[in-house]
């Protein structure tokens, strides 16, 4: 156990040691303020993969690693769409996932928004339309904001959420 605490003290807090330190600090403060003001301190996101390559999910998981530590901003990924303010949709909206994705959106309580994540839902990734793809997602669900990238980096996602938050009026 003593080894663990030694390591813990030596490692310190990683979250502050980002390459984009100042920039992220500024974003952090802004997000914190907006989340606090508009969502009473906590913004709940439900992620739904509608047919991606799993890279977008990996980047969302990376958001909770010690470098990005998204939860400190009051933004949480939640287990059920019924707990969520935002539906984060990645992927190509496959034929088989379309009814389930729409179902998830219908389960959310108002007010609710959809953010599309990555190039796939906008049909801007190198994939081409086939019988099994129903993207763009916009044809099926109202998208409030789009985060570009293939996949968007964790930093892009944080920035995207901030831009979205700035734009909404409550």
């Amino acid at each position: 156990m003593i080894k663990f605490w030694n390591k813990r003290v030596k490692t310190g807090i990683l979250t502050e040691n980002l390459e984009f330190d100042d920039e992220i600090k500024q974003i952090e403060q802004e997000i914190k303020d907006i989340v606090h003001k508009k969502f009473a301190g906590s913004l709940a996101i439900r992620m739904v993969d509608s047919g991606s390559c799993n890279a977008c999910e990996a980047e969302c998981n990376a958001l909770s690693n010690p470098y990005y530590n998204l939860e400190r901003l009051g933004i949480y990924f939640v287990a059920s769409p019924r707990h969520a303010d935002i539906l984060l949709v990645s992927g190509l909206m496959t034929f088989n996932m379309t009814p389930h994705t729409i179902d998830a959106y219908n389960q959310m309580a108002e007010p609710k928004w959809i953010i599309s994540l990555g190039d796939c839902p906008a049909m801007e990734a190198p994939f081409e339309k086939t019988y099994a793809i129903n993207a763009p997602v916009l044809d099926h669900l109202p998208i409030a904001y789009h985060i570009k990238g293939c996949p968007p980096t964790p930093k892009d996602i944080i920035k995207g959420i901030l831009e979205f938050l700035k734009g909404i009026s409550l």
Binding site: K3, L14, D49, E57, Y67, M97, A104
Partner: protein, 455 residues
Amino acid sequence: MRLIARFAKEKKDFFELVTIFEEEIQKEQISKTNPKAKTITDKYPSAIWFERKIQDDFGINFENSFDNRPLVQQERFPKNIHPLRKNFKETSLEQSDFTPYEYEAIGGDGVFQVAVGPIHAGIIEPGHFQFSQAGEDILHLEVRHFYKNRAIEKMVEGKTLFEAKPIIERISGNESIAYQICLRDIIIQASNQELPLPLKKRDAFLLELERIIHHLTDLGFIPNDAGFSSALAFASKLAEDTRRFMTKLTNHRFGFGAINFEANSFDVDFINNWLDTLSKEIEYFEDWIIDIPSLWDRFDTTGILSLEKAIKYDAVGVVARASGSSVDRRLNPFYIQNGFEISLEFEGDVASRFKLRLQEVKNSLTMMKNFIEPKTNSLEIDKINDGEYYSFVESSLGELFMAIDIKNGVIERFFVRDPSFINWQVLHIMMDNNIIADFPLINKSCDLSYAGNDL
């Protein structure tokens, strides 16, 4: 013989059914007027998903098969459509009436079903798990997938290999480098060229780096699923470091577009230092995590896959090696000369799969030191010859198999078998004598891909 894959293709006058075994390739002609074939599932149980997929894609019926339910085509999929046939050209489908899917279910007094998915509670891919439960005990699990089916096989038909590359490298994000190397090997075969050693080493370096990222992520998530979240904090930090290192080398966090017949110069000192630092961190991690008895209480004897079953079901990758089955595509002179040692565990439980990943990370670091190639190098690809090509790569999940037919310079048929396609079929065997609360732990210890499986 180990079954690797079974798939069909359409020729002018007949369908061809190709079965790939480790030692041989069998081909069979199937009439187009009455497409029927004999099942091989009595001998090779893992052939069942391949045959059900062929039945959906081409409309070839398998006689005496124990399972004729649709696999890829789900409840709302239009009936009597076989989209991989050449005469199917639609690019959109209307939803048809809902036809319920008959799940495998065990009946009896007090036995109940638990349906999980397709959308799960975490940030993970969609798939469905149907449990038959007696209280906490799992009696049976049926894994049902293909929610993410994007029809990649159809999408790349009619494209050149280079046009198809951006699509193929995005089939499964976590295995992008492996998919690219599989395609690279087919391009090399089709153009009748030799791959220069520096290029081969550079690509092998990136493949091991991808494996390390994947294993590190799992080394964090497996303990996290047993309620030990500080391991996740530590390992996800290392995984992020590794991803940033990947970005330095390839300009992309997942290495999309990295395998491109050009090797840029490597800064040898920087890379050596980086590898040494990671080695030390892994050493610390191992020393620390091996010493947490409550964690190993959860890992030991959970989700056992016996060697006998691993072989019977043709398991590959980490899942096979943790049960003592030495299936690894890196067992070849090139890798062995550069320090590859096969890692094996013999218990076949979650603990074995966890320890195996740790060993593999350490072995990958050793190999990467030997794969460092300071010189720049490149290869011009002149002409792609028509033909049938196969290639294999050991991805971070296991053996990846790709088959491409080229006709008139473009892809006539593309088939890929992700290691997960085989291993998903093994998962239900691990559920014997386990409780449902351990399912996430067992599932994570295998960490299979949904995207690669569904295509």
